[in-house]
Subunit: 233 residues, 2 copies
DNA sequence: TTCCCCTTATGGTCTGACCACAGTATGGTC
DNA sequence: GACCATACTGTGGTCAGACCATAAGGGGAA
C-alpha cells in the first residue's frame, strides 16, 4: 500500500482554541463591540495554557476581528471589531515582497475595481463632496508625496461611493501597497495638469450619472498613469 | 492645549520582531522556500523571549507567508511561502460572521471579478481544458454539494485563466466563503440544465475569444443564480 | 551492507512569575 | 458633602525555563 494513508492533520492547540472561539462567536451571537473573556479565564475554560490562547487571539487580531486593550474597565480586554484593512494591506505587502504577487497584478486588479466602482458610483449617484474635496487638495499639494496622498483619497472615495465595503477595503489596501509606485509614476509624469483633467472627467461622469463614460474615464486615466510596456523596476 | 497630543503608539514586542523579520526578508533578499532561523536562535538574536518570536511567526503564518514544520532536516523549521488563499478565506469568513461584511457585498464582488476574468480569459485565449473538465464533472455530479464543488472549480478556472494570481486567489476565497449560499441557490433552482447552458455559453465565448459576449454570459449567469430582490436569509 | 536504536534539533505546549497599564475603590482633606 | 491623592485590582504583555512529540541523522550490531 502506498503512503497515501493519513490525512492525520496535525492540529495544534491554538487552532483548536481558534475554532472554539469562532464557534462561540456564532453560537452566542457575539457582535462587533462585544468582549471575549480574559486570557486567563479563556485558558481555564478550554483547559489549555495561556500561551495557546494568546496565539489564537493574535491570529484573530491579525485578521482584523479583534482588538486587545490593556488596563481595566469596559474598554479593556479583547473586543470584537471588523477592520479588515490592515490585514489586507499587510497581506499584499508581504506577498509582493516575497515575489508571490507581481505589482502588475495589483495594478490590474486596481483597474478592475476602479472601473467597476466608478460605474456603480455613477449609477448610485451619492454625494460627490469627498471627490471634490480630494480634487481640491490635490491642486493645493506641494509635492508628489502629498499629491499621491490626496490622489489615493480621491480614488478610494470612488470605491467608497460604490457602496460595497469589501471593494472599498480591497481598493484602499491596494493603494497603500503600491503607494511608492504611484509616487514614482507622478514624478515620472511631472506635470499633473493632465492628471487633474482626468480626475475632473471622472468626477463629472459620476456626477452626471453616466456609468459608461465613468468607466472609460477611469480606464483612460489608469492607462496613462501606468503605461504598458516598459515597466519601471 | 487639547489632548491631541501623542500618537505614542504602544509597540508590542512581537510587532518589533515582525518588523525586524520583514526587514531581514527585504535586506537579505530572502525568497520563497528559504528558511528563517529557529525560534530560539531568533529570540537570542533579537534579545526577546521565545514567546514574542512565536507570536510574530504566528502572524506571518496567518498571513500565508510562513509555514512551520517540526522535526529536523532541510524541511523543518520556518519556511517562507506565499499562499494567501487561506488567509483571505479566513478573513472573509470571520468578517461575514461578525456582520462586518454582507454576503451581498461578496456576491457583487464576485460578479465584478468574474466578469473581468472572463473578458481577460477570452482575450488571452489559453487552453480551456480545465473549464471543460469542470463542466463534465458537473454533469456527473450526484447532488447539490458535489455540483457546487465542480461549479466552484469552473468559475475559479475562469479566474485562473485571467492570468492574474491576485484576482484568482480573491475569487477562490470568495467562493469558499459563500459555498453554503451557493448550495442553497442550487437547491432552490433545482433543475441544473439552465445552469449547464449558462456555463456552456461562457465556455464557448471564452473559446471563441469574444470578451464582450463572455462578460454578458457571466453577468446573465450570476443574475440568475443570485436573483436580486428577495434575498435569502 | 543492512537494520535498529540513540542522539539531536526543531516546533509545540505548559507553568509560573513579574511588569505596565488603567480603571476603581478608599480614605483623607477642605 | 465635594474633591483629590493614593492604594488596590484586574487586564494584557513579557519573560524564563521546563518538558513533550516529531523527524532526520549517526552509529553500532547483526
Amino acid at each position: 500500500m502506498a503512503d497515501s494513508w493519513a490525512p492525520v492533520k496535525r492540529t495544534r492547540t491554538f487552532e483548536e482554541v481558534l475554532a472554539q472561539i469562532e464557534r462561540r462567536i456564532a453560537e452566542d451571537g457575539l457582535r462587533i463591540g462585544d468582549r471575549l473573556p480574559g486570557e486567563r479565564q479563556l485558558a481555564e475554560q478550554l483547559q489549555v495554557s495561556r500561551s495557546s490562547v494568546r496565539e489564537a487571539l493574535r491570529v484573530l487580531e491579525t485578521l482584523g476581528v479583534l482588538s486587545s486593550q490593556v488596563g481595566r474597565g469596559p474598554e479593556a480586554g479583547a473586543v470584537l471589531i471588523s477592520r479588515p484593512g490592515a490585514a489586507l494591506t499587510d497581506l499584499l505587502r508581504l506577498h509582493v515582497g516575497l515575489d508571490g504577487l507581481e505589482p502588475a497584478e495589483l495594478i490590474e486588479t486596481r483597474l478592475m475595481i476602479e472601473r467597476f466602482a466608478a460605474e456603480r458610483a455613477a449609477l448610485r449617484g451619492p454625494d460627490t463632496s469627498a471627490l471634490s474635496e480630494a480634487l481640491a487638495a490635490m491642486d493645493a499639494a506641494s509635492g508628489p508625496e502629498e499629491f499621491v496622498e490626496h490622489d489615493i483619497a480621491f480614488h478610494c472615495a470612488i470605491a467608497d461611493a460604490s457602496g460595497n465595503r469589501l471593494i472599498a477595503v480591497i481598493m484602499r489596501s491596494l493603494r497603500d501597497s503600491v503607494r511608492p509606485h504611484a509616487v514614482q509614476a507622478v514624478e515620472r509624469i511631472g506635470d499633473t495638469a493632465g492628471l487633474r483633467a482626468d480626475h475632473q472627467r471622472i468626477l463629472d461622469a459620476i456626477s452626471a450619472g453616466d456609468p459608461a463614460e465613468a468607466a472609460r474615464a477611469v480606464t483612460d486615466h489608469l492607462a496613462k498613469t501606468y503605461p504598458p510596456g516598459p515597466a519601471p523596476a
